[in-house]
Amino acid sequence: MAQPELFTITDGVQLCAVQADTFKTGRITVQMALPLAGDIAAKAALPYLLRRSCRAYPTVTALNGHLDTLYGATLGASVQKKGEAQILQISVSAIDDRFALDGESVSAQAAQLLMQLLFDPKLEDGTFPQADVDTEKRLLLERMRAEDDDKRVYACRRCEEVMCENEAYSRNRYGTAEEIGSLTSARLFSAWREALETAVIRVVLVSSSTPDTVRDLLRTHFGPLERRVCTIDTQFVQTAQAVKTARETQALMQGTLVLGLRCGMRDSLDMDPAMRVAVDIFGGGTYSKLFTIVREQMSLCYFCAARLNSDKGILLVASGIETENEEKAREAILDQLRAMQRGDFTQETLDTSVRSICDTIRGYNDSPDVLCSWYGNQIFRGTAKTPQERIAEMQGVTLSQVRDAANHITPDTVFMLAGTGEDSHE
């Protein structure tokens, strides 16, 4: 696999290209980052609206039929929060030309299609057709509702909302139901222009071919635009004040307890990679304190895991528990944090953690999708650090750095989604 190459297409638009002939597929992802503010709902609906059709393939049926003939090429659309940025993503994956049965160039057509979706959508009277906007409004509302039906996801989101209530981060990445309900094609049209003209954009290409075609396509399309690149700032709250608590009850068999903690980071690279390792020893792998002690020894929960969000400097611990064990589980989790802060872990555990993290990172090279996320994640840094370079950084982490990182962590919020414990399902 070749080293990644970075190209500046125009102000604020970068292409990161990885040439690799190991894969059956090629993939292109386009990430457009905007502040998590303003018309969040319109921006959230945009990638899905762009993914549904374009001028050349003006209906869902025509576009999906075209994808079928491109050997089941897939288009992805999504909206994510990265710190206090709203990232709109649209992507295409298609089989490598070598595997097409009739010798046609699938990859060139896939790249072309992605450009058509982004730059040449279906418009009527200069704007998006109202019927399409109405369907996408409904789909976005349903997507939002369905996410609440995954109780773990819901409890984590609620914990973040309570924890960051006075920060932009508390905003739902889809906006509110009211904002979605009132969406108009004019608002979506201006979100489209805002994204193309002001977003920080990173395109990642993983393909067996040279990046020339995609680079030239991007230059042709972005060249004529007048770009004024937005600025995106994320507020890092370093220390929690008094611990906040919030609680909801639903007719569930099981409860979900989520602890939100502040990591004491000043920016996304502060205490990196020691913080990453600290969180892993605390509640990452099967060797972590939360897994071996809270889950296995104490049998308090079927899952209990910690996840670092370095883009916001926060840490969430989610745990599936019997509702009556709420207090016991909370104390057990916090006990393990205190143990981390006392430095109650060995060099052997540190080695285990680093080895495991590095083993996972080494495998990133084996998937076009993962490589796209890996390089896409570096959007704000403008870098193209390889997995190998990241491994070298990880291997330098020391016991005292990890303990020091753990000592910057403070508990901020406890959110409990309580179950009634009854089987109301019959």
Binding site: L67, G72, A94, D149, D150, K151, L252, E322, G363
Partner: protein, 428 residues
Amino acid sequence: MNEKRYADALLDESYREIRHPSGLTIRVLHKDGYKSSFALFATKYGSIDTRIAQPDGSFRAIPEGTAHFLEHKLFESEDLDAFARFAKTGANANAFTSFDMTAYLFSCADRFSENLEILLDFVQSPYFTEETVRKEQGIIGQEIRMYRDSADWEVEFNLLRALYHHHPVRIDIAGTEQTIAEISADLLYDCYRNFYDLHNMVLAVAGNATAEDVLAVADKVLKPAAGKPAVREFVPEPKAPAKTYIVEHMPVRMPSFALGYKEAIRTPERTVKESLCTSVLLDAVAGRSSELYRRLLESGLINTGFDSQYFYGFGYANCEFSGESADPERAAAEIRKAVAAVRQTGIAREDFERARRKLYGRLVMGFNDVESVAVDLVESYFAGADLFERARVCREMTLEDVNARLPHILEDDTAALSVILPADGKEA
């Protein structure tokens, strides 16, 4: 040692299948340029195996959920449990139990041989005591309760409970808190002897590792087994579903549904051709480029999560359409109408071509991922097929093959509908 090599030039892949003297079959697909390897050690023993064959040919019932329980317990040994051993190497280890298999797995980019040794060793070293069994009953009880809160899980299992009268595919994979209470250490040893004979198992490896890497460890660690594959009992199901409608109220915001058509089968297993022709047919009828999909989407009856699948295993087969819907019953009625029409006319040639090309592309894409390759190596082995048969069948499939499936599937009087509705009845 008996060895075969399989290759597919159009896919640019090949693998080796070795019949090891211990009795175990080993399949290895080496991928040039890959850093990681994925290994899967699997036995043909899943949640549907609720009866053990006796020497006299009769069958004895075992509690529901035993296969899954055994999977959990195998991770423990007298000294260091398997998770702790894998932690030292940095591998990512796990296990799963499905309807028809139990598999133990790891992925790693470093120290492959050491990891494979741990995998083969712990699966061959059962250690159960009454005390550890009791403790596990609590942990699995929590897991069972967790799944009961998942609407996606419930809508699917309710459909199976509606479609099947007695086939064990209708029971939860983990069993219930009542059935697992009946499990004892002795019973686990019985099941282990019956189902974990190496002749009933397969080892599949995909990625950076080579067959030589795998065999060096296998020669060292595998204990010869004298037994033979476990026997499964085929009990045909009545053609009609047990229930045509099943509804459950849960604390959800989006209602969801699964519409299933049970297939009347005379033999327990489906061929690769039957399976792929059915998938192509379902995609032509309800895929994203179909007329039905457009109509349902535009009339607000489905969202982009709508999907269809051919769901089958030993003794069961059904076609399913599932998704979220503000009005599940109307969505199901529309699907039934479209399905009835297709049964009259068959699918059109252009729809067939599109669906077949898509399927072929997706089969090619599957070879990117070492996990998916390893799983396919296992599944195809248990199905008595080679890994490339699906791609071959897909390349050769005709419209006539696909439409020839229609008389056997999707009959309206074999259908059942499973629906999950919000408990408060207010949403959507």
